[in-house]
Symmetry: C2
Subunit: 400 residues, 2 copies
């Protein structure tokens, strides 16, 4: 289940969080993640052409490959805020650097929340110095709390691997519930590890893991202006530098992907108003790319998602969504299963008895829809949620 | 308003409709449109790779350029029904041809409704011959009624133009409420005219008009397996053959587009659970293609559509949707208006007072959002609906 109480944390990082008055609700909204010394850093960012000020700044900063502190706020995205927004993002970095006594270039800033309103800078002026004083190795959960906007629960995941005889730990924090589509819509994730990872290796590992996790989830297909995933490696576990394709390198890559996958699934499960987490598994496509295209088309269909909400084994909508994905498919070869219950063979429904069994699967909080195309060996998956009344309620009222 | 009582109908066509027992509700579900003699015919069809049996058949049939009868049923889409489905569609054509005493090749068949269930052929065996006996020039409204599935109201539009001193009339019927996205998702439309139009001219006119109307509406981005638009020209008005680029030819093209636009807007207004009809107008794009891409991206954003439902002037979501459209935009040049109320200038919000005025616009049943990109002279539009609770209710429960 989400929110597992992660205690075995990577060495070399400290955390702090506060209620700084950015959110009207008075809930925690400002947090800091600080490495004891400059950490190796890699990042992936939104593909939206409209990029929020903190993303502009952070994307530039982490090009150096080093980062020592992340300042993150919720309640205000500092997006569509023009020159003032960029100046404010810079000021946030300056404040953080000043409070920590480190170079400004080692600070990343991230914001999430309402678009189009400038940051309330007095909140930052007042609370950033206080955060710096409160840093502690055990406040990681408080940071996850302070990152929340419409999130129903904070999101933390962790794994550990042995490298060169040393325990290396990975912990990930994420926020994101609505506006989630591939290419990382209003989603922030910070991953800390005490493994020793070179800069170029960190970038490649993160890109691969993001591609297979955060880029394969959808709640509502919208892509935000602020999405950011940052990986910080402190090396504080004292293990030798990671060798990418060695057995230990592969273990680390798998552990990193597992952390991101846990977080990605939590985000879908927490999709605004979502009651179900559904894996769309497409097998037998002509290529992996085709499989991914079909999986994405099914996962993002509003009709499929409302049918999931209604526990309706409406396989016709699944076939229709596969059909308009834009890749070659042969309807007469399609096989569809809900978990292990076959519902369609050779493009034809298997009747009322199977539908009754499939409906039981659809009532579960988590299940897999497998679509076998019978054309080749390409496989891919996508995680999606159902689409229910709560999604409408939350998003129609979000700013009021 | 929709449902205007159209009386001035094109000469040369007769209509009939019945409750044939295909729908469980017992409502009208089977109809016939018959030309007095073979009419010039053109059609456009779904781009879904999974194509329903009646579409396979009709697409093939109208290649001849002639059609004399359309048999249409609601309540069952005859989609994902394999070989049996194709045999059933053929049988429907044979029954119709037999009842009318015409060649089978002159019959088009169209179906809409539930996917994955074979047609209840006894309904057709019984009622097609009766329909043929009941044909009448004044039953066009009954046909529109019988085409409905989740449609809240029947959809009819009409125009007339003078060609060579003769009044030529155009009447269009449509069904469609959910699963509406460009490329004509679960949408059927039949357009009859008594103008004299050559086959190749009819095809070009129809394609152009569909591109600017039905292909620019969205309710939920899903594209169905059954979409069909058919144009039948009887020539019964006695006017000379249409000359495409002549003044009269252009008048006819405009009238045809107006009929389709009326129907397209009725479909959006009737979008499942929709309470608003919104035109997304994008101006100042680098090209018309770019403008259309941005308009589509905004029109299909679930977050934008839920904000419309909540009368929330959330311009940040509009900019974000423009940003992920995939074309070049410069956020600092963006101007946004809700009807004539400016809300954004140079990418920045204009504050609380304008927002209050914009919110009033958003409460209207029909309004325009104009997005000026400031990059060139490319313009395009898209029609969309809001996304509310009713959409979820209807689609979660559709089959139960």
């Amino acid at each position: 289940m989400p929110n597992s109480n992660v205690t075995d944390l990577p060495a070399g990082f400290r955390y702090a969080a506060r209620a700084a008055g950015i959110k009207k609700s008075g809930k925690p909204d400002l947090a800091m993640i600080v490495a004891d010394r400059p950490a190796v850093c890699a990042g992936t960012f939104t593909t939206n052409r409209v990029v929020a000020a903190p993303v502009v700044l952070t994307r530039e900063r982490i090009r150096s490959g080093l980062c020592q502190a992340i300042l993150v706020n919720s309640g205000n995205a500092n997006a569509c805020t023009g020159k003032q927004g960029l100046a404010d993002a810079r000021r946030c970095a300056v404040l953080t650097a000043g409070a920590l006594g480190i170079a400004e270039e080692l600070v990343a800033v991230c914001s999430t929340g309402v678009i189009g309103v400038t940051l309330p800078m007095t909140c930052f002026e007042t609370h950033v110095p206080e955060l710096a004083k409160e840093l502690s190795v055990d406040q990681v959960h408080a940071v996850a709390e302070a990152m929340r906007t419409t999130d129903a629960f904070p999101k933390i995941a962790a794994r550990s691997v042995v490298i060169g005889g040393r325990d290396c730990r990975i912990v990930g924090l994420a926020k994101g519930a609505g506006m989630i589509h591939p290419n990382m819509a209003t989603m922030l994730a910070f991953v800390m590890t005490d493994a020793a990872v070179d800069g170029s290796v960190a970038g490649a590992l993160l890109s691969t893991a993001v591609e297979r996790t955060f880029n394969r989830i959808t709640v509502d297909r919208d892509t935000s202006t602020n999405d950011t995933v940052l990986l910080l490696a402190s090396g504080a576990a004292g293990a030798p530098a990671l060798v990418p394709d060695s057995p230990e390198g592969l273990s680390f890559a798998a552990a990193l992907e597992a952390v991101l996958q846990d977080l990605a699934k939590m985000i879908v499960r927490d999709g605004e108003g979502a009651t179900k987490l559904v894996r769309i598994q497409v097998d037998g496509a002509a290529s992996e790319t085709d499989a991914l295209t079909v999986a994405r088309s099914i996962a993002t269909s509003a009709l499929v998602k409302t049918a999931f909400f209604g526990a309706d084994a409406n396989w016709g909508r699944i076939i229709a969504a596969a059909g308009y994905a834009g890749v070659e498919i042969d309807p007469d070869r399609i096989r569809i299963l809900f978990d292990d219950v076959p519902m369609v063979e050779k493009g034809l429904g298997l009747g009322a008895q199977q539908e009754t069994r499939a409906t039981e699967v659809l009532k579960k909080a988590e299940f897999t829809v497998t679509v076998e195309l019978g054309l080749g060996s390409g496989s891919a998956w996508y995680h999606t949620s159902d689409l229910g009344y709560e999604y409408v309620r939350i998003n129609a009222d979000y700013r009021s």
